[in-house]
Amino acid sequence: MIEDIRALARELLEKGTVECVIGYEVGPTGRVRPAFVYEPADVERLIFDARCYHNLVTYLTRRNKPRKKGEEVPTTAVLVKPCDARSLQVLLNENQVQRDKVYIIGVACPGMQNADGTPELRCTRCDQRVPLIYDVLCGEPPEVPAVTDTYDDVERIEALPLEERLAYWLGELDRCIRCYACRQACPTCFCSVCEAERDDSLWVGIADRIPEKAFFHIIRAFHQAGRCAECNACEAVCPMGIPLSLINRKVAKDVAQMMAGYRAGESEEPTPLVTMLTGEEAIDEIH
């Protein structure tokens, strides 16, 4: 499969179809990381295996802007797993990425693994092995496991009495250092000025206090309603190990319940939970 990916990447770069291929590589100390390949000769750096958990779609909104005023937006190829593809669909629906500026290399997903070789919990709940959207698919789709996400992790928390639930979340969120890595890693968090970072502290102040920290995460969860593809990027990057996916999964569960099994990024329409401004109301940039 990796040979297919490399061959395709080489072809895309040689023909000038894309400026850059975003994939994965192994860093000098053996850690897997996002790779940006510009030269055909460099495609040998690319790898793909069960350690490639980063959602590379997060880099696309940034690349969707011209580097200099008046320059054309370059086309980028990106490797996407099924969950990544759903977040990309959300961005396409919300006009954050232009379809003709992205070349989607779908990968048949083996499921991601933890450092100790066990499958990532989220991948044991996932029934998608092939992305819903791609230009080219690499790899043979493994057999689809017959699983349905029961949201048992969310239900365990929901079952707790209110005080315990509150204590659990305040305890977890107290460790937050407001580094915003969760937001920065999230493909569907792309506002140019985050509500939590406004100069006037309108919604959230800058202090390292539980109310501010909790409120930031709650705002983020609400803004992800019907948009979060549960790619786990937020939780994977949290330097404090806060179970952030659990918050988003709670919202995803409620959305699915309220809206006949709705899942983010499975249709080509923007989520009904987001108001799209059109015509005269449309704004170019979010401030």
Partner: protein
């Protein structure tokens, strides 16, 4: 060589905790979070420097804390003053009270060395920051040598050592049955009067296991690399989060705002608050009018490297990085400061 038995050390710490604010490495968070996760932070408890009430709360076998000790000199948030209304309706600014004396026990030599940078900026460069100065004056540092350089550590490549005593008041080194004790400063001398010290002849300090040392770029290489496309290539991967700057012992950037907070008892407090900020954040430099002079990611990433290795050394004659390795461990996309330094150091100058 002075020596203190483990039991005597614990007894001293227990007593100390009654007299001063004792800050020490402590394991925080739930025991098991997400075992097996690729996120190192999710694999168990994490160690921080926290106030403890007795020696049993101290994590003795820690590598390095997640956040450096700088959070106790420049807190993540502090109130500069509260803005109050006096009896005649006049505005009164009320400054925060002083803290009681503190001892930071178990500070690693690299973290203590990091205070050189903060001292240079906050204390020695006039006018001194009174909040930092007060905390610094009020605090005695009892260091604990690293028995080895941990994964990602590179202190020896930037002038430090895992057992350096230069920046602490007392340095302890774990040996069989207790700790060897080096008293470094007068402040340390004074604190050590409460320790049950023995003089052990021929006690030798263990040699820490070292990581490979590497060459760092020269001043000329830094100057020649500012406009290099290299920063775009490393910046490609960067997420513009703040992890590297928040775990760093020598980062100091802050934001200042006036905010009204409501306490749990319902009291409204209007205060001027200072909180950590990061040169990596997208809107760090944005002018009130919206202009962003550092709008490109690679400019922001480059600034962090130049700040550590060019601006701080040029402005304050002190090394801006202590090689603690925290940013290496914590970066979610593996931007490895050691890799960048070695890449630049290998460059041929035109």
């Amino acid at each position: 060589m002075k020596f203190i038995e483990t039991q005597a050390l614990h007894a001293w710490l227990d007593k100390l905790a009654q007299e001063v604010t004792l800050i020490a490495p402590t394991a925080v968070g739930p025991e098991k979070k997400a075992p097996g996760s690729r996120n190192p932070a999710a694999q168990g408890q994490q160690v921080f420097y926290r106030a403890v009430s007795d020696s049993s709360q101290i994590a003795w076998d820690f590598t390095r804390t997640v956040i450096s000790a700088r959070e106790h000199f420049m807190p993540k948030t502090e109130t500069l003053f509260t803005i109050e209304t006096g009896p005649d309706g006049e505005t009164v600014l009320h400054e925060t009270k002083l803290e009681r004396p503190r001892v930071i026990f178990g500070i690693r030599p690299c973290d203590a060395r990091g205070l050189r940078v903060l001292d240079a900026v906050m204390l020695e460069q006039e006018p001194a920051d009174v909040y930092y100065a007060e905390r610094r004056r009020n605090t005695t540092l009892v260091g604990l040598s690293c028995p080895q350089m941990w994964e990602d550590c590179f202190c020896t490549s930037v002038g430090g050592a895992p057992n350096a005593s230069d920046d602490v008041d007392i340095l302890l080194t774990q040996v069989e049955g207790g700790c060897a004790v080096q008293i470094v400063t007068a402040k340390g001398e004074e604190l050590a009067t409460g320790m049950d010290l023995q003089e052990v002849e021929g006690l030798e300090l263990p040699q820490p296991k070292l990581n490979d040392q590497f060459e760092t770029p020269t001043e000329q290489q830094w100057l020649a690399s500012f406009n290099d496309v290299y920063w775009q290539r490393v910046g490609d991967r960067c997420l513009s989060c703040r992890i590297c700057t928040y775990v760093c012992p020598t980062c100091r950037c802050f934001d200042v705002r006036d905010e009204t907070v409501v306490t749990p008892t319902g009291e409204r407090i209007v205060r001027r608050v200072r909180a950590w900020d990061s040169c990596q954040s997208v809107n760090y430099r944005v002018h009130a009018g919206g202009h962003n002079p550092r709008a490109n990611l690679e400019q922001r990433l480059r600034n962090r490297f130049y700040c550590k290795f060019h601006y701080v050394p040029v402005d304050y004659d002190v090394a801006g990085c202590v090689g603690c390795g925290r940013c290496v461990t914590a970066c979610p996309v593996n931007i490895d400061i050691r890799e960048v330094l070695q890449d630049l150091a290998r460059r041929e100058l035109a």
